[in-house]
């Protein structure tokens, strides 16, 4: 009897569990009985689906503290009217999908975000539009979550009045895929995160960096486009980063870099394109990185490598039509350049093996002069400068003698 009771009890328990897992559906509409998200969340049990009907919900600081799904219809908008947060996720397994989040408030005290995820895992944020939020999506101590197919657009004009688009802090195992981020302070920002995959995002016209991260080992960037950001992309104080197939383009300005690397070690930069940047790649105090198969096209400076960077390898890259190919601040060189294609290479290939017979000096005298006296830039392409460069190439006096590519390719590497 007792055994049987136990069996029935167990069965009922299981059924309830299944019921619970399946969840109820709660409709929220501006003119319905449930007309705010807050009400719906109060009614909802775990695993319920809250369906947000078309309309504008003027709510702020909405706390989601149970595993629910919020799914919107077209033109369902949650608007904080410029004060506080919009949504705060504090539960695991929350899904947010298909609606718009607006106007998290600008603040000098709090990092108000359109969506704040705090100490949660298994969160999925997809197909959302985030418009004019101070911060866009803010993950703090989150893990095992996905942010995909979202559009984040802000129209801040000053860095202090604009937060970051996707901001990660102390998080782990997050996938950020196919988002568009525009007009924020930093498009994507990480600090102290690990094992993050960032794929196929577009980060453009952000006020400061398209992407900015520090102290975040073992992250992967693939297929992203960083375009027209105030200062390009900066990666700092990190080991084992993999950057492949990204585009860094049109980052113009006095402190703009396609990719700025500071204290980066053991990382891979493969198959990226650096095009039309003031400086394509800037490297400082970084070591043992491999830079391979990248295209540097039409940059002011393709590469600036500070002398405190060592044992980096620059192999089989294409340097095409850059005003300056490589510049550095020392006559010493502790890095390896080999097998690259340099469009400024003037040598010949008598044995026709596709490799130039004389080494290429990618550092011009003029770039050394400019490093000392930036105003000289205005003399670029002067016949005089051409003569000085040629003389220096023949008899190096000021340029690093050792910084040469002994196997310059004759044709662009495909």
């Amino acid at each position: 009897m007792w055994t049987r009771f136990r069996q029935i009890f167990f069965l009922v328990l299981m059924m309830t569990a299944v019921q619970a897992a399946k969840g109820q559906s709660i409709r929220v509409s501006p003119d319905g009985t449930v007309n705010t998200l807050e009400q719906a969340l109060a009614l909802a049990d775990s695993n319920d689906v809250i369906r947000l009907q078309e309309g504008r919900y003027l709510e702020r600081n909405i706390v989601i503290d149970k595993p629910v799904t919020i799914e919107g219809e077209r033109n369902a908008v949650v608007d904080a009217e410029g004060e506080g947060f919009v949504l705060i996720v504090r539960a695991d397994n929350v899904t947010l999908r298909n609606f718009e989040v607006q106007n998290a408030g600008i603040s000098f005290m709090d990092d108000n975000a359109g969506i704040l995820v705090e100490e949660a895992k298994g969160v999925l944020i997809e197909n959302l539009t985030l418009t004019d939020n101070f911060f866009g999506i803010y993950l703090s101590k989150a893990s095992d979550s996905t942010i995909r197919n979202n559009t984040l657009i802000a129209s801040g004009e000053r860095e202090t009045q604009s937060g970051n688009g996707i901001h990660l802090w102390y998080s782990k195992n997050i996938t950020i895929h196919n988002n568009t981020i525009k007009g924020h302070r930093d498009g994507i920002y990480f600090e102290f995160v690990e094992g993050i995959a960032i794929t196929d995002n577009l980060s453009e016209e952000n006020l400061r960096y398209g992407q900015h991260f520090m102290f975040s080992d073992h992250c992967t960037f693939t297929g992203n486009t960083f375009k027209n950001n105030g200062a390009g992309v900066a990666v700092m104080y990190t080991d084992h980063v993999t950057m492949t197939g990204n585009r860094f383009e049109h980052n113009w300005g006095s402190a703009a870099y396609g990719l700025l690397m500071k204290e980066i070690r053991e990382s891979k930069v493969y198959n990226n394109t650096f095009e039309n940047n003031s400086v394509g790649m800037y490297m400082e105090a970084s070591s043992r990185n491999r830079v391979k198969h990248n295209d540097f096209i039409n940059n002011g400076w393709a590469l600036k490598v500070m002398a405190n960077s060592m044992d980096n390898q620059f192999v089989q890259n294409n340097f095409i039509e850059n005003s300056f190919e490589v510049s550095t601040n020392s006559r010493q060189n502790f890095n390896i350049f080999t097998g690259n294609y340099w469009s400024r290479y003037m040598g010949y290939d008598l044995d026709r093996d596709g490799v130039g017979d004389v080494p290429h000096h990618p550092v011009r005298l003029f770039s050394v002069l400019i490093e000392k006296q930036p105003e000289m830039l205005i003399l670029m392409r002067s016949l005089l400068i051409g003569m000085l460069d040629t003389a220096e190439r023949i008899m190096p006096v000021l340029t690093p003698e050792e910084l040469i590519d002994k196997k310059p390719q004759m044709a662009r590497i495909q």
Binding site: W252, G253, S254, G300, E321, E375, I378, R381, L383
Partner: protein, 263 residues
């Protein structure tokens, strides 16, 4: 109107001289080769611009002086006719600058056109390069005329001054700027540099080329100062005015000399 008649006769006369055809052919072969072997359109146009910055002033200067010397009989013949000196000067000036500019534009332009590079690089860029080439032709023919008139009976001196002035503007001037920058490195020199470069027409044209091809570099660093200046409406107007002044002043001085000259 009479100036136009002179231009059209000069035109015929110049084309009978194989010189001008050769000049156009050099650009044609060069541009074609640059496109074919130099690695693509924009680079070819950039190399062409570099060559233009040196070659056009040099050829225009030498041809300007030479042409004036060669036209002596023609001038004396025409001055005995009911013709004012202004028209004659305009005819001589137009009669040289138009074929010379055209030789450059057609010579360098044909390969850009038949290879389709002009579409690839954009019409604006091609137009800027050619515009600068024409401006340089106008300027240096004017300067050449000036030396030719000043030393009308001392041809060696005339040529000498033409060559020295080219060497000065193309090379030495930049050397002086370089010296200046290193000497006064402690001071902010951007404005002085801008001032100095608009004074030299070759530098002015060179900056025009930089703005087309090296914008990425100009956007960074101190370059931004230059870019902001030349990219602004005011900067553009100033640069253009200087270029126009450089065309007008030698031509106008030349006309004055020509008006007073005894033949």
């Amino acid at each position: 109107m009479k100036a136009l008649t002179i231009v059209s006769y000069q035109w015929k006369d110049l084309f009978r001289d194989k010189w001008l055809i050769g000049y156009a052919l050099i650009y044609l072969v060069l541009t074609d080769a640059l496109i074919r072997f130099g690695g693509g359109g924009p680079k070819a146009l950039l190399s062409l611009s570099n060559i233009m910055l040196l070659f056009v002033p040099l050829v225009s200067l030498i041809y300007g002086v030479l042409y004036l010397y060669q036209s002596r009989e023609f001038v004396e013949l025409l001055l005995a006719q009911p013709l004012d000196r202004k028209s004659l000067f305009a005819g001589l000036y137009g009669g040289l600058t138009i074929p010379l500019s055209l030789a450059f534009v057609v010579g360098a332009g044909l390969p850009l056109f038949y290879t389709g590079v002009w579409i690839q690089t954009g019409f604006g860029t091609v137009a800027t390069v050619f515009g600068l080439g024409i401006a340089l032709s106008l300027i240096f023919v004017g300067v050449g005329f000036l030396f030719g008139l000043k030393y009308f009976d001392e041809r060696v001196k005339g040529f000498g001054f033409a060559l020295v002035s080219w060497l000065f503007l193309a090379v030495l001037y930049d050397g002086l700027v370089l010296l200046l920058v290193s000497t006064f490195s402690a001071y902010p020199l951007e404005k002085a540099m801008i001032g100095l470069s608009v004074l030299n027409p070759i530098d002015l044209a060179r900056i025009g080329v930089l703005l087309e091809f090296d914008i990425s570099a100009l956007m960074g660093y101190t370059g931004a100062v230059f870019n902001r200046f030349f990219g602004s409406y005011l900067g553009f107007v100033i640069a253009l005015s200087c270029l126009v002044l450089w065309i007008a002043v030698p031509a106008w001085r030349g006309l004055n000399l020509f008006n007073k000259k005894d033949f």
